[in-house]
């Protein structure tokens, strides 16, 4: 992983470029789980929900890259990430059954062991489609190794 020290306040690491997609069955499961298809939701039944990209960030590859880097900077096995904030900016709607690239960077730590995961979503042709920003904090639940 490449370290980029351009930000003097907190370090930044490029976690990788990952292939992701909006496969119709997975989108349908996600829509069902967030109860988007109930009457009166106003949503098109084949649309990709704006919060769907969070599914990409929980993929085993990205989770491994993120956890590995957090451990490198001092996260202990007992610590857990807590989701503090989330931002999703779309430059256009995400298309169903479409592959994208996700370019993921970790920045931090800031005060309170806070980190930012930033991900740029691009289409096959390289055009930018969306940006995701996740704010995390690390906590140690009592009874777990610090």
């Amino acid at each position: 992983m490449k370290r980029d020290d351009s930000d003097a306040c907190s370090a930044r690491w490029h976690l990788g470029r990952f292939r992701v997609d909006t496969s119709a069955p997975r989108v349908a499961r996600f829509r069902e789980a967030i109860e988007l298809d109930v009457a009166g939701s106003g949503a098109a039944h084949d649309a990709v929900p704006i919060t769907f990209p969070i599914c990409w960030l929980t993929s085993p590859e990205i989770t491994a890259a993120l956890t590995g880097r957090l451990r490198d900077v001092g996260m202990s096995p007992g610590q857990l990430p807590i989701h503090l904030q989330q931002e999703i900016i779309l430059l256009g709607p995400l298309e169903i059954d479409t592959a994208y690239w996700l370019n993921v960077t970790l920045a931090g730590p800031d005060v309170g062991l806070k980190f930012r995961v930033e991900a740029e979503v691009t289409a096959e042709d390289g055009s930018e489609v969306a940006t995701l920003v996740v704010g995390l904090a690390l906590v140690v639940p009592a009874g777990r190794p610090a």
Binding site: R26, I34, A43, I50, H83, V139, A142, R144
Partner: protein, 131 residues
């Protein structure tokens, strides 16, 4: 005609169950044990397992989507300000806080509360139809 100050229809969710949370965790791939294991949640100072913030954010998007119909949701940001625990209900309220005619967009603020305590504060940007 959308105007600044317009209130959107709210959304009231009765007690969110562990089953709903499990369904969301499975669909989203979220493996954080905090949302499943009450002993870990208690160790983190909570009296029960917390509902994933992203599940609440999805409901905020649902509120905006139900109001705006076919209008395009351009962005959504959320701060998870206080944990909502499994078994607790939550109320979503939303209103238009700004109209930016030049950019043809409206800013909608969504607040999710549980007994006067804010659990989520979100802001959505919606593209307005051409005049």
């Amino acid at each position: 005609m959308i105007a600044r100050g317009d209130r959107l229809p709210g959304l009231s969710l009765a007690a969110i169950s562990q089953l709903q949370v499990e369904r969301y965790l499975a669909a989203s791939g979220d493996g954080n044990p905090l949302h499943r294991d009450a002993s870990i949640a208690r160790g983190a100072g909570l009296s029960g397992t917390p509902v994933p913030g992203m599940l609440l954010m999805a409901q905020a998007a649902r509120v905006v989507g139900a109001w705006s119909g076919c209008l395009e949701l351009m962005s959504l940001s959320a701060h998870f300000t206080h944990p909502l625990l499994v078994g607790e209900g939550v109320e979503f309220r939303a209103r238009v806080v700004a109209l930016e005619a030049e950019q043809a967009r409206a800013i909608v603020r969504v607040t999710a509360t549980r007994q006067e305590k804010t659990v989520l504060l979100a802001e959505a940007v919606v593209r307005l139809p051409p005049p």
